[in-house]
């Protein structure tokens, strides 16, 4: 039975889950949630995800939300399929967890704020806070300098193999490069750019891009 993913193909967090399921070859069905119509704030949806956010998955009777929890679950469940996505031993796993947390706490917030101020608010007819966006851009420069240094020592964030830590960055960087028009943050850094070219050319990500109509 296919895993049901409630969300939208444009939402960064839903993309994180879909990218992972595609990497693992796990059958899924995307159940579209109409965010524009506020479907995610209605009682029927809140039963599935009490914070009123996408995505949430249903796998038979099992329900789970928070994209980074969902991807961890499936990578562990199907560890025999692509064993290195979460590392091959305790120490590698710790590195994957470490960079997953960096993405969640040092990277994601800055991208989210940038996209909110530069893309989403203007789309809704409201002025974005340009000073705030600029401050996020400056902070992102410093964060990406650390990534540049890290990626000079290994091919991927957690080591020499592609893992969940790299996958987790795909949706956010895509937004940065496209809607937010901040691609220079990536292309100006040799190692970060090389890494981005590599991970965004993976068949699973390209498949998702096609699904999303980009």
């Amino acid at each position: 039975m296919a895993v049901k993913v409630y969300g939208t193909v444009e939402s960064a967090c839903t993309q994180r889950v879909i990218a992972c399921l595609l990497e693992m070859g796990v059958d899924f069905e995307l159940v579209h949630v109409d965010l524009d119509a506020g479907e995610h704030k209605r009682p029927e949806f809140l039963v599935r995800q009490p914070f009123g956010q996408v995505p949430v998955i249903e796998d038979g009777d099992f329900r789970l939300y928070e994209s980074r929890a969902i991807v961890r679950y499936y990578v562990a469940k199907y560890a025999d399929r692509v064993p290195s996505l979460m590392g091959n031993n305790l120490e590698e796993r710790a590195m994957v967890d470490q960079w997953l947390e960096v993405e969640a706490h040092n990277f994601n917030d800055l991208i989210f704020t940038l996209v909110l101020q530069l893309v989403i608010l203007p789309r809704m007819g409201e002025p974005g806070d340009l000073a705030l966006a600029h401050s996020c851009e400056q902070k992102l420069e410093k964060v990406l300098d650390v990534y540049e240094q890290r990626l000079s020592k290994c091919n991927y964030l957690a080591g020499d193999s592609f893992t969940l830590a790299d996958l987790s960055h795909l949706p956010g960087i895509r937004y940065l490069m496209n809607e937010a028009n901040m691609g220079h943050l990536i292309t100006e850094r040799k190692n970060v750019n090389g890494w981005w070219q590599d991970i965004s050319n993976r068949p699973s990500w390209k498949k998702l891009m096609k699904l999303a109509g980009y």
Binding site: P50, F51, Y65, E66, Y73, E91, A94, Q98
Partner: protein, 218 residues
């Protein structure tokens, strides 16, 4: 006898205390190496080698050097699975998934407004930084909405991820401790019946009491 693991950072830091709580729960001996943040020690080259973002905590044992408190906690639970509280990170994949879900909820929904309030109300006065009243009000509203969700959840289950205390509950201890004991916003927790009950229970654990003692002694 194993060498104690090393934790770098001041015990008053919420992220550092998250790791210390986990080490106490798992009965893992540690050495706490304090970092003087008011003197900028966390931005100096020697520390940046351990934590390139210049943040605390950093962690070291004989095999590895790790940063990010929630990653450190997961590592400790994996490496020392048979020590101390064996169920802290779940004993089967479904339990682990539920714990991960609530650790993420803590990190994404609870932490942002609560840590802003902790900084504004508990730290800013000590650092002679002017409080931002608008920011305080906005984040109090955000946190209230999150705690309404927690109130419902904790009416269905004793702890966030189920019937047992887990890493998910532990992850909430540091910020909540400051808000309840160090600011006038404790009522956000204590006025909600289930949240109040949950807070009393998790903060009475021996492991957390030891962390609070460490913070007081520092």
């Amino acid at each position: 006898m194993a060498t104690p693991v090393k934790v770098y950072g001041p015990p008053m830091s919420t992220a550092v205390s998250r790791v210390l709580a986990c080490l106490y729960e798992k009965n893992v001996e540690f050495e706490l190496i304090s970092i003087n943040m008011s003197k900028g020690e966390h931005k100096k080259p020697e520390f940046l080698k351990l934590q390139p973002f210049g943040q605390v905590p950093a962690f070291e044992d004989e095999s590895i050097s790790i940063f990010e408190s929630r990653a450190i906690c997961r590592y400790i639970c994996d490496k020392y699975a048979d020590k101390g509280n064996k169920g802290l990170y779940g004993t089967n994949p479904l339990a682990k998934a539920s714990i991960d879900q609530w650790i993420e909820a803590e990190g994404q929904s609870f932490n942002p407004p609560s840590s802003t309030l902790v900084f504004q109300l508990a730290f800013a006065p000590r650092m002679n930084i002017k409080q931002d009243k608008v920011l305080i009000r906005q984040n109090e509203e955000k946190l209230s909405k999150v705690l309404d969700i927690y109130e419902k959840r904790l009416g269905e289950a004793r702890f966030l991820a189920g019937d047992e205390f887990s890493l998910a509950d532990l992850s909430h201890l540091p910020n909540t401790q400051y808000l309840v004991s160090g600011t006038d916003k404790g009522n956000l927790f204590t006025s909600r019946e289930n949240v109040g009950r949950w807070w009393d229970e998790i903060s009475s654990r021996d492991s957390w009491k030891k962390v609070v003692d460490l913070q007081k002694g520092a």
